[in-house]
Amino acid sequence: MLKLLRKYPILSYYANKLFAYVLTIFGALTITFFMFRLIPSNPIENWIKSLERQYSVSIEGGDAMINSYKEKFGMTGTLWQQYTRYMYNVIFNLDLGPSFINFPTPVEDLLAAAIPWTVALMTVSILIAWVLGLLIGATAAWFRESAISDVITNVSITLSQVPSYLVALFLVLFLGYQWKLLPTRGAFDAQYAIGLNWNFIRSVAKHSMLPALSIIIVSLAGWILSTRSLVISNMGEDYLMYAEAKGLKPRDIMVRYALRNAMLPQATGLALTMGSMMSGQLLIEMMFVYPGLGQVMSRAIAIFDYNAMMGIIILSVVSVMTASLLVDLALPVIDPRVRTAIKA
């Protein structure tokens, strides 16, 4: 096998990318697992205590109940046994263990219910932000002398670092309360039946407008800035000056040379951002009571439910790594330079 790898550098490039992919995911999960477990507080005691406080009664058989729950949750045995058992379940039979939020349902179902919402919201907003960002960024770069491009740049600089929930605050205040244009809570009107009927979709769209907008505004600013500086540095390259010397129309030069060379890095950027959407915008979803992964995460954190939290983190780590793996695998095919560089 090694001889084969040595002989064909492309294979060894893919092999070592795959190895790094698996190792990083495994490492990340281990770190998170131990981080949670080492922290003193434990979900079951919290739950029992919260029950006692709620009904102001002390439960005698409390510790027996605690042990049985611990057993069910795989919290028994030494830390190492818990770890191996958990990993075995996750890897081999994809069982993330029971969630604590609504007890019997396993974490997988919990996530399965939340994933479509987050994916829908995030994909739409990321794509809109990316496309708009590319267009505005490129034009701002091409007409960099004009005042508007300075205005656009400074505005996007200001907006790019502002956290999306602060933007959400403003949107909720003005669009939501002040002018009552858009609903500010929930994902759809309760009165419509869930299904592919028209007004359900319309109401979902209306409800997700505000959260989507707050995500779009911030990431749009980010894309504008990155495209602008990419295109500007491309404009300084010799091949652009050479294209001008060939007497090509400015518009052709921008599209065929400046933008084309900026497409590749921005495409990889899009893939990586798509990968990171799984971690969801926790605060946005909490603020808008949007039933996505962030919502599940916030409820899990509130009562420190190990399994649910681990489930979501596994999901986002895997999706981020898969996105970057796909980019690494696709790169040699798309970019001829990488294909040659690999063999060096």
């Binding site: 002989k7 064909y8 690999i342 060096a344």
Partner: protein, 354 residues
């Protein structure tokens, strides 16, 4: 026996040194190319001489320079400092090697850390090799070295690298080398990035170093005319191998390797009355990507290629006293004997000063 031996032991001696890299090729396989392929080169102490090493870009001259400076380890072969492998030098011997073998790099602008003033390069050398006991003395030898390379100390000391011209920067490097009074300077294309007018000044200083301070120099260039101006022995490097060596006048009088002949024909002469007669054919520019050991390195482009050229590696044939060419056109002439590798018995570097 030891004393006489110290006379003819060369300060720096490369014995069939080879460096192998793997390089990108259009195909999917992995290709190995010997950037430097069994090169032998000796720089003696007395008499101080300027040895020119001429080769096109990609002929391995920079790799050879870095190996002789001890910056890159050779894949095969040995580099000896006063008869002992530089990888086996003990601490004291290493410092002695470091002091006596100094480089001059190619890029006058990139060589100085932009963060500091230019004379820090001099101070660093003075401090590390403790050439001066007090700061006044340090300033004195600094100014003296700068004047020796035709630079006014007040023009240089305290200035930043970007405030000086390429020629000035390169001469400050010469001053830095002069401080150490090394036995050998390895100059890797020192003049290729400075103007023609100032270039001559730099070459004159190197000649003066040889005559006044007995500092030998390995002068590496791709410009044959500059090597001609320096005089002395010359080695022609082609794709990592020394194809021809000997005194420069011998080589010009009787260029015996096809590569040297082609090189001499291709060089534009600064005289409009003697323009090129020959019409270069395009095939010249092809570069043999892969070459195994056992064939002549120039066979792909050689007009006199014979079958033997691609089956056997041409040894050095002796054209005349001190003039060798590695080409089967001269099969009838005597071969040069191979240079023995040094075994581990030489514990102590011969003649290393304390």
């Amino acid at each position: 026996m030891m004393t006489t031996q110290t006379q003819n032991v060369p300060v720096l001696d490369a014995r069939s040194v080879t460096k192998v890299f793997n390089i990108p090729t259009p195909g999917f396989q992995r290709e190995y190319i010997a950037a430097v392929d069994q090169v032998s080169l000796a720089l003696s102490e007395k008499p101080a001489r300027i040895v020119s090493l001429v080769g096109e870009s990609g002929s391995g001259k920079t790799t050879l320079a870095r190996m002789m400076l001890g910056l890159t380890p050779p894949t095969r072969g040995q580099i000896l400092y006063r008869g002992k492998r530089i990888s086996e030098l003990d601490k004291r011997e290493w410092w002695d090697f470091r002091r006596n073998v100094q480089p001059i790099f190619q890029d006058p602008f990139g060589i100085y850390n932009p963060f500091y003033r230019i004379d820090r390069a001099l101070d660093m050398t003075i401090k590390n090799f403790n050439l001066a006991s007090s700061s006044e003395e340090a300033l004195a030898i600094k100014s003296e070295a700068l004047r020796a390379v035709d630079l006014r100390p007040e023009d240089v000391i305290g200035r930043y690298p970007h405030q000086l011209s390429g020629g000035q920067c390169q001469r400050v490097m010469l001053a830095r080398t002069l401080l150490l009074r090394p036995k050998v300077i390895i100059a890797d294309e020192p003049v290729s990035m400075i103007d023609v007018a100032v270039r001559t000044l730099f070459l004159n200083i190197l000649l003066d170093f040889r005559d006044t301070y007995d500092i030998s120099c390995l002068f590496i260039t791709h410009h044959l005319a500059t090597a001609y101006y320096m005089g002395g022995p010359m080695l022609v490097l082609c794709f990592g191998r020394v194809v021809e060596s000997g005194d420069i006048d011998q080589l010009l009088a009787k260029p015996s390797h096809p590569y040297t002949q082609q090189l001499l024909k291709a060089i534009p002469t600064p005289d409009p009355t003697q323009r090129w007669q020959n019409r270069a054919n395009v095939k010249i520019t092809e570069r043999p990507l892969t070459h195994e050991g056992n064939k002549c390195v120039y066979v792909a482009r050689c007009p006199h290629a014979m079958p033997i050229c691609s089956q056997q590696r041409p040894p050095d044939f002796e054209i005349e006293e001190g003039h060798y060419a590695a080409c089967f056109l001269h099969q009838d002439k005597p071969q040069r004997e191979a240079i023995p590798q040094v075994s581990r018995r030489h514990r102590h570097a011969v003649g290393a000063e304390d």
